[in-house]
């Protein structure tokens, strides 16, 4: 258990840019401390690919019908947009991204042992447009999935 945790952290750390990845490699930080670290770069990223890259370690995403998103087509109140992400896959982490926000990454969830692929929260976004929840699982064979849809008054699905 412990080794696999470390391995996962290292894989994550090694793809992250900058000092943190180096620190992990040199064993300066304990795995717990790394897990607990708030991914500043990911949250401060201004573009969706940057945010995904900073958090997931790669910006390649894959569409999947195995992730279910529940969110209103048009938010009644932009400050409170309920969003639920659920999946049967053993997700390692789930990110909620609001494309039109100044900082797109709204929330990220790291699933611990026993956690089911389900999170529900309320995000905010003046003009919530493309929502791209992502599930991630495995080490090297990380599957990155994406479903997005455009929230337009005409309710046109953009991507699936």
């Amino acid at each position: 258990m412990k080794t696999s945790m470390k391995r996962r952290v290292f894989l994550k750390g090694s793809v992250a840019s900058g000092a943190l990845g180096v620190a992990v490699g040199a064993g300066l930080l304990t795995p717990q401390a790394v897990l607990a670290a708030w991914p500043k770069a990911a949250f401060e990223a201004k573009k969706v690919p940057e945010a995904i890259n900073a958090f997931m370690g790669s910006e390649t995403t894959e569409a999947s019908d195995k992730i279910e998103i529940k969110a209103p087509d048009i938010a009644e109140n932009g400050a409170v947009v309920p969003i639920t992400v659920s999946t049967d896959m053993a997700a390692e982490s789930i990110a909620v991204i609001a494309e039109n926000n100044p900082s797109p990454l709204a929330a990220a969830f790291e699933m611990g042992p026993g956690a089911q692929g389900y999170v529900s929260t309320r995000s905010e976004g003046g003009r919530p447009a493309l929502r791209q929840p992502q599930g991630r699982q495995g080490d090297h064979r990380r599957l990155r999935r994406l479903i997005g849809y455009l929230r337009t008054p005409r309710r046109q699905p953009l991507k699936h």
């Binding site: 609001a98 100044p102 900082s103 990220a108 611990g112 026993g114 929260t121 905010e124």
Partner: protein, 104 residues
């Protein structure tokens, strides 16, 4: 007793559903105060952790993109009726709070 967190954890068929509501302004740092015209400093919960049986079952990393008075719901397996769980949050200004509850 926590003043800022309300929590409920229910077990059904081996899966525990946790629902929590926190009281927090969740300021993004980009909003202007309508009276003074100055930016309201960022003040948001950065990390919410939930522990059960010595394991951290979920870590939520948040930014100002999560709504005011945030709601969080998630599920995990392996919890039993009567088990204690602990939920805590830390914000970007160093404030924190935690609550302990039992699974029903």
């Amino acid at each position: 007793m926590s003043k800022t967190i309300k929590i409920r954890a229910q077990e059904k068929g081996g899966v525990v559903t946790v629902k929590a509501l926190m009281t927090h302004p969740m300021e993004t740092g980009t909003r202007k105060d309508s009276k003074t015209g100055k930016l309201v400093p960022a003040h948001f919960i950065q990390e919410v952790t939930c522990e059960h049986g010595g394991n951290t079952v979920l870590t939520a990393l948040w930014s100002g993109g999560v709504s005011k008075n945030p709601y969080l719901s998630f599920k995990f397996s392996g919890g039993k009726n009567g088990d204690p769980i602990k939920l805590s949050w830390v914000d970007n200004q160093g404030e924190s709070d935690s609550i302990e509850a039992t699974i029903k």
